[in-house]
């Protein structure tokens, strides 16, 4: 049986947006402000239970309420309705750093923070060397933290949070600040936390972190819970939100031959933008020549969501010689059998060009399609391994 460690029940949080802060403005706007005070629901009816030992990732767009939810779990904001229940000690790293007071030195802040989190002075003394060691800022421990760089600040904050022996750790987008060796150290520590059976709640825009670390993910959208499930399902849904429509970006060339519509189709020639490995895929490019052109080639390049080139080719490298193009229209089709790609969004860049010299016309990300896979492989290529275990 699993034990809930955090229970969020019907939590809603309303913000009033008013910009007038001083007395004069308040008085001047007294009559109107009540009527015109804008209400904004940062969270609406959020309920979920988190089991002990699980790692939860909260994802969503900017302003979807992730950080607000984390603050409510941490007790820093009070919800307008509903409540949060939790067990045990909680350490939080919210928006760049724990609660440090700029005028105190690093050492004093460590003691202050540890006692906020419920450690006695004696316990803090015991952990102190470890905390400083982990943070790697021994040199500056007796400097006021207002003189710290943001990296040093986060290092110390993270170090305190993970050394005070919490049952629950809340992390809001802090890992992005440290340098790479420290990030690695943090991730190792987080994994160690997971092995200990501690509970972690993450807010991050780094979707790969969610995939790598979390057992569960919740997607928030405009303050509402959109999806709650395994990281893979939630990430898929999250990416699905961005439409599969491509957004043609850069365009260049003299348009001697102009690229018209570019369609992604299946084997039957029906337009479609969702595929699974093994499907046949065809990219249909419409071209219009404005003048007689003898030397022309057509090329495509397929990029994945991280803008990594997955595949590129053109008629020239395929050793094709195309017949001269008289003014008029043509279609060029690139057909692929059995696409072996991992799950991602893919973009297609198209160009028409002479064998040598500047392109006639090139459009970046002209078309897009998406591949879904049943297994959740990493990398670019969808291979189908056969795995066996042999006794020697």
């Amino acid at each position: 049986m699993s034990t809930p460690i955090v229970r969020v029940s019907d939590v809603s949080k309303k913000f009033n947006i008013h910009k007038d802060k001083n007395l004069k403005e308040r008085v001047v706007n007294a009559g109107r402000s009540r009527k015109h005070a804008e209400e904004f629901w940062a969270l609406k009816d959020i309920s979920f239970e988190l089991e002990a030992g699980k790692t939860l990732g909260l994802i969503g767009h900017n302003g979807s309420g992730k950080s607000t939810l984390l603050k409510i779990i941490g007790g820093i904001l009070t919800p307008n309705t509903g409540y949060v229940e939790r067990r045990g000690r909680l350490a939080a790293l919210l928006e760049l750093g724990a609660g440090f007071h700029g005028d105190l030195t690093g050492r004093e802040n460590v003691y202050l923070n540890a006692s906020i989190l419920g450690l006695s002075r004696k316990q803090t003394e015991m952990y102190f060397d470890e905390i400083v060691d982990f943070s790697g800022i021994e040199q500056f421990i007796d400097t006021q933290v207002k003189f710290y760089s943001s990296g040093m600040y986060v290092r110390l904050a993270f170090s305190v949070a993970v050394h005070v022996d919490p049952e629950i750790l809340l992390i809001d987008e802090v890992l992005a600040v440290g340098d790479e060796p420290f990030q690695k150290k943090c991730l190792d520590k987080i994994r160690a936390f997971q092995r200990d059976g501690r509970t972690i709640v993450f807010v991050t825009h780094g979707l790969d972190v969610v995939r790598a670390l979390c057992d569960r993910a919740i997607m928030l959208d405009k303050g509402k819970m959109a999806i709650d499930g395994t990281p893979t399902d939630v990430l898929r849904a999250f990416r699905d939100q961005y439409s599969v429509e491509a957004l043609p970006e850069a365009e260049r060339g003299d348009k001697r031959i102009e690229i018209g519509e570019v369609l992604v189709q299946d084997a039957a020639g029906v337009e479609r933008n969702r595929f699974v490995p093994g499907d046949n895929l065809c990219i249909d490019i419409e071209l219009e020549a404005h003048e007689q052109t003898d030397d022309w080639n057509v090329g495509i390049a397929i990029f994945n969501k991280d803008d990594i080139l997955v595949y590129g080719t053109n008629t020239h490298v395929q050793l094709m010689t195309l017949a001269p193009f008289s003014p008029g229209r043509k279609h060029v089709r690139f057909a692929f059998d059995d696409i072996a790609l991992t799950e991602s969004q893919y973009y297609c860049t198209v160009a028409v060009h002479p064998t040598n010299g500047p392109e006639y016309h090139r459009v970046e990300r002209k078309a897009a399609f998406r591949v879904y896979t049943a297994s959740h492989d990493e990398g670019l290529l969808y291979l189908t391994p056969k795995i066996e275990v042999l006794d020697t």
């Binding site: 699993s2 002990a52 009070t78 609660g99 006692s115 006695s120 015991m126 059976g197």
Partner: protein, 334 residues
């Protein structure tokens, strides 16, 4: 599952427990501050603050440290400021305006009043900015927000004790010691200052988060309040002006809690009340006696302070409830 209750690791064996289900299961499920009804919840907060008492000590220490950080004289400023005030009022009010001729041991008289007044202004002034100046903590970690104003009260109390040393020094210098007859007034007076100051401080701290004008308003009001309290003059001077025709105004004047506290302090701690000084009359050249006892408040100060304590307790309860209402939004207003 074992029936033994797991115990959080002691200092000797950190992290020795496994954070498994069995461990978590026995931890109580606690509600993170949900909406409380207005009339209940005071007791809960008091209990919570008690749990955090160790932190309160740390915050008080922090408050004192931060106040005089980066200053060479540091703590000495605690003493320099009231001593300078003492000097200025002695010269201006005592000398130029001639109050030292009608009030024996005018310096000590001034200082007894300044002592509790400084305590009060330290609390009020400090509390007003306490949430705003600790924004870094308020936005990141949770513990009862009342701790910030309370730590200011703690820091002010320590300053108060230090300044008492000056008063004792003055007694030794003058070889005049106060009579212990009325010493009971001191704890009563201090209780009024602490309760009244904390109640007002909680309200001001919360309102300053929403309206930054409050801190300036407080500054101005304290100046006004200072002159409406018999610190640099005797209350008898007010009485003589008002008693004949405007007794109700005098009653309002005396209803100021700080007025009662200052009168109580003077009664208990000002040895001049037992002394008589002789001033030379300018025209006749004769010596005219002035009795310090005339300036001691004759009414029932114990009763007045007792009532004030009762009123301040109600005020404190009310202030805490308003504070509790407001504090849910501190983190987003800062």
């Amino acid at each position: 599952m074992s029936t033994q209750t797991p115990i959080r690791p002691t200092a000797d064996e950190p992290n020795s427990h496994v954070h498994g289900e069995a461990w978590v299961e026995q931890l109580p499920m606690q509600r993170v501050h949900s909406h409380q009804s207005f009339f209940r919840g005071f007791g809960g907060t008091v209990k919570e603050i008690w749990q955090y008492r160790q932190l309160l000590g740390q915050l008080t220490r922090k408050e004192l440290k931060v106040k005089y950080k980066d200053s060479v004289l540091g703590f000495l400023w605690t003493l320099i400021r009231p001593l300078l005030q003492l000097l200025v009022y002695s010269i201006a009010v005592g000398g130029f305006l001639g109050n030292s001729r009608s009030i024996p041991e005018f310096g000590v008289y001034l200082f007894t009043g300044l002592l509790c007044w400084t305590f009060f202004t330290d609390i009020i002034g400090g509390c007003t900015g306490s949430i705003v100046s600790n924004a870094g903590l308020v936005k990141k970690v949770y513990f009862p927000r009342e701790m910030f104003p309370l730590s200011v009260v703690g820091a002010a109390a320590i300053n108060f004790l230090l300044q008492c040393l000056v008063l004792i020094g003055a007694y030794a210098w003058n070889r005049q010691w106060p009579h212990p007859d009325n010493f009971l007034l001191i704890p009563l007076g201090l209780l009024v200052v602490v309760l009244f100051g904390t109640a007002l401080g909680l309200l001001l701290a919360a309102s300053n988060v929403y309206l930054r004008d409050v801190q300036y308003l407080v500054e101005v009001s304290l100046l006004f309040w200072f002159w409406m309290t018999p610190i640099v003059y005797a209350w008898t001077q007010v009485r003589d002006k008002l008693a004949a025709n405007y007794d109700w105004l005098l009653q309002i004047y005396l209803a100021n809690p700080m007025c009662d506290v200052v009168l109580a302090f003077q009664k208990a701690l000002w040895p001049g009340g037992r002394l008589t000084i002789y001033n030379k009359d300018a025209t006749t050249g004769q010596l005219v006696p002035v009795h310090g006892s005339e300036h001691i408040y004759t009414g029932n100060l114990y009763g007045r302070l007792g009532i004030l304590i009762g009123v301040c307790l109600v005020l404190l309860w009310l202030a805490q409830r308003i504070f509790a209402r407001a504090q849910g939004n501190f983190a987003q207003e800062l």
